[in-house]
């Protein structure tokens, strides 16, 4: 590389980075494919619900109408769009009157759920404000589109077993652990096969740099694995919250209660979701998974910074670690100066007292 021309240097380095990222992306795609094609990975958490919904749904829902409706009411909103994409397979299934669980695989698509959950829990406030506006606009077409959905909920609730009515999905065929176990198994397989490449000692020139890149790649894959586990936990909890909303609705039906305004339903939705997630947040499992995810992220960031530093070493610019040394020096000097100032003042005070 020509270090005398920073622009060429950086361009060349960026190309290398791009290649590395592409390689990682390919690998991630393969892993994704592995997850989704492994037996049991398509265990659909919504199977119970969708079956009953399908059975209870007396009429087909036109997918175009559904899409148009969503796009009219939720236009421009990424979070809602992602929510729609997540549910699209089920809409298709309802329209086609098919109950093939494979059609619902997308519902368990970690990437899609991750994107949705990220919108909710990474606190993109801009998106959130949009979300609220558009959620409110949902009322605009509720009369037109909402009723069949509501009817489906009610019919489903009625036609389901007592377990369903009590919200005990987990006791039926929904096993949230399945997905995560497979992810762990996949990661273990990766570690014992391709992953070994990342652990192998580098040889030749630039050995240390190569090792650092390997470490960073490993840290990033560790972050990805932890992040998937974390997102999966949030996803499962989101499903629980949805079930809890349905259960509460069913109870309202049984009690003969009705909503007077959309606000009442919204308040219920917020309340149930908040309580369900709060229950999760109280658990040690959540703390453990969230901390594991963030810790892995911080570690990856630290290593990435080191790589950047290595790459910039030949350029005439101050690097982070060098600035840290300066900060430390300034900090120590400040303390010394303050201490000396204090001593001088004390001496002056005592001298003036002695004069008096």
């Amino acid at each position: 590389m020509n270090v005398e021309n920073p622009s060429d240097y950086i361009e060349s380095w960026m190309k290398t980075q791009q290649q590395a990222i592409n390689s990682l992306k390919d690998q991630a795609a393969q892993m994704q494919s592995f997850f989704m094609n492994t037996s049991g990975a398509t265990d659909n958490p919504f199977t119970n619900w969708t079956k009953s919904a399908f059975q209870a749904f007396p009429m087909g829902v036109d997918a175009t109408l559904a899409k148009d409706t969503f796009s009219k009411t939720l236009y421009g909103n990424d979070a809602m769009q992602k929510l729609y994409e997540l549910w699209q397979p089920m809409l298709d299934a309802i329209r086609n009157k098919s109950i093939d669980p494979n059609n619902y695989a997308d519902l368990a698509d970690p990437a899609k759920m991750k994107a949705l959950v990220e919108k909710l829990f990474n606190f993109d406030i801009g998106a959130m404000s949009q979300l609220q506006e558009q959620t409110a606009k949902y009322a605009d077409v509720y009369q037109q589109f909402g009723k069949p959905w509501t009817d489906a909920w009610i019919n489903a609730a009625k036609s389901q077993s007592s377990n369903f009515m009590q919200g005990n999905f987990a006791q039926n065929d929904f096993q949230p652990e399945t997905l995560i176990k497979q992810m762990q198994a996949a990661y273990a397989i990766f570690e014992s096969t391709t992953g070994k490449v990342f652990s192998a000692p580098a040889v030749g020139k630039d050995r240390e740099k190569m090792e650092l890149i390997s470490k960073c790649a490993k840290a990033m894959s560790s972050f990805a694995a932890n992040n998937i586990e974390y997102q999966q936990l949030m996803q499962v909890t989101g499903q629980e919250a949805m079930q809890a909303v349905i259960k509460t609705l069913a109870e309202k039906v049984e009690a003969g209660e009705k909503f007077e305004k959309f606000d009442e339903f919204f308040a219920l939705w917020i309340d149930v979701n908040e309580k369900t997630f709060n229950k999760l947040f109280q658990t040690k499992e959540f703390s453990k998974k969230r901390n594991a995810m963030t810790e892995a992220g911080f570690n990856a960031r630290k290593l990435y910074n080191e790589i950047i530093e290595n790459q910039l070493a030949d350029l005439p610019i101050a690097r982070r670690s060098e600035m840290d040394e300066v900060y430390k020096l300034v900090y120590d000097l400040r303390k010394q100066v303050k201490s000396m100032e204090f001593q001088i003042k004390e001496l002056k005070t005592s001298a003036s007292k002695t004069k008096e």
């Binding site: 829990f121 609220q132 009705k258 339903f265 900090y331 100032e341």
Partner: protein, 404 residues
């Protein structure tokens, strides 16, 4: 069909949507009209500054009711103008109207060069220098410390290490006993790898901590709050109040890494303050050395600092005169809630006046205090340390007297 939604009337919904649209349009107009979201408007003057820190003295709004000045120590997280968020909801103005002489520390916004600041620097350095500056400015031998949240923890630590300078200690919604798991923050922090966080960032960005706060109630704080905002959008004053709070919430300074590291490790994870094992520099903090009168205020519905983290404090101090005060509300409601405006400042003021010294005591080395309109700013220098008499409680023992 037995449908819970069948009662939603189409005409009513249309009317609702019509009203909603009107609100949106009017709200949008109002939003474009609002140029500045003013906060922290109570008049004040800068009397001391050091590094990023600034110490202000508020302009008196009534005849002095208390000889001893009050120094407010706010948390490092978020900005202290929460205490003066808007003119009609200002904890500070309420104190001023009751004749208190109020000073406040503004920690500023740490930059990467502040990453090595430790708890020792904040407490034995900055707070001590501010106490000295207040003593000099107010010509008072002692100071009443009023610590808010983390600032309350710091104030208690300071009072234990320098009891001779503190007349009274008031803490508001401050954590002391970190062994509790009542609050999510306490729960999460126990297993948090703060080393990884600090090593990755140096000065930890405020938005990382803010994300954690918002996650305590994600649906209410990220969704419902903004839906509710629509109800006040057409009222300029209400909208401004909402925006002031929003500004405060997202105005989160970064955290000096070393200080945060020690606070999480020693307090949240080690609970060393309660155990008497917390060390600052060469000194060990012994809460038993707090002998001045103390007023411990906690909020019954505090989701950030649960009562269980605050209440044990009174049993750990050496003071004979100690009061535990329960405020019916949440962590922020203590300062901005409508009940707080009527209740809290008068209670604190009354408590302080009851324990006030008869007249201000002259400090030997102090200069004449600056007049209200002639601020004398002391910059980046230490105040001369003035010997102070040890604290002697003036009132009989009062314990567990909520809602005075």
């Amino acid at each position: 069909m037995n449908n819970p939604f069948s009662n939603i009337d189409a005409k009513l919904t249309m009317k609702y949507l019509g009203d909603f649209n009107s609100k949106l349009i009017k709200g949008a107009e109002l939003l474009t009209d609002i140029e500045e979201i003013d906060v922290g408007t109570a008049p004040r003057q800068l009397i001391y500054e050091e590094d990023k820190l600034k110490l202000y003295r508020y302009k008196a709004e009534a005849d002095k009711s208390c000889g001893v000045p009050v120094l407010v120590v706010y948390a490092l997280v978020n900005r202290p103008y929460m205490l003066d968020i808007q003119p009609d909801r200002s904890f500070i103005r309420n104190l001023l109207k009751l004749g208190l002489d109020v000073y406040i520390i503004d920690w500023g916004y740490p930059t990467p060069s502040d990453r090595y600041l430790s708890m020792d620097d904040y407490i034995n350095g900055y707070i001590d220098n501010c106490v000295e500056a207040v003593r000099k400015s107010a010509k008072s031998e002692k100071v009443s410390l009023m610590g808010v949240c983390q600032g309350g923890t710091f104030s208690a630590i300071y009072s234990a290490l320098h009891p001779e300078k503190i007349q009274n200690l008031i803490t508001l919604v401050a954590p002391f006993d970190f062994s509790t798991n009542d609050g999510l923050l306490f729960n999460w922090s126990k297993t948090m790898d703060v080393d990884a966080l600090v090593d990755a960032y140096g000065v930890v960005p405020g938005n990382i901590l803010n994300d954690g706060f918002l996650m305590l109630m994600p649906f209410n704080l990220n969704i419902k709050k903004y839906i509710d905002m629509l109800d006040v959008m057409e009222d300029k004053e209400k909208l401004l109040n909402f925006l002031r709070m929003e500004k405060w919430i997202f105005d989160s300074p970064g955290q000096a890494g070393e200080c945060l590291r020690q606070f999480v490790k020693d307090c949240y994870q080690g609970n060393k303050l309660v155990k008497g094992k917390l060390k600052l520099g060469a000194k060990t903090v012994d809460l038993g050395k707090i002998t001045m009168p103390i007023l411990t205020i906690y909020a019954s519905a505090d989701h950030l600092v649960p009562p269980a983290a605050t209440k044990p404090f009174n049993d750990l101090v050496g003071s004979e005169d100690k009061t535990l005060y329960e405020f019916q509300g949440g962590h922020i409601g203590v300062f901005v809630g409508s009940r707080s405006q009527k209740e809290l400042a008068p209670a604190i003021s009354k408590w302080l006046i009851q324990r006030d010294v008869p007249a201000p005591v002259k400090v030997a080395a102090a200069k004449v205090a600056p007049k209200a309109d002639e601020p004398e700013v002391v910059k980046a220098t230490l105040m001369p340390k003035v010997a102070a008499k040890p604290s002697s409680p003036k009132k009989p023992k009062v314990t567990n007297t909520p809602k005075s």
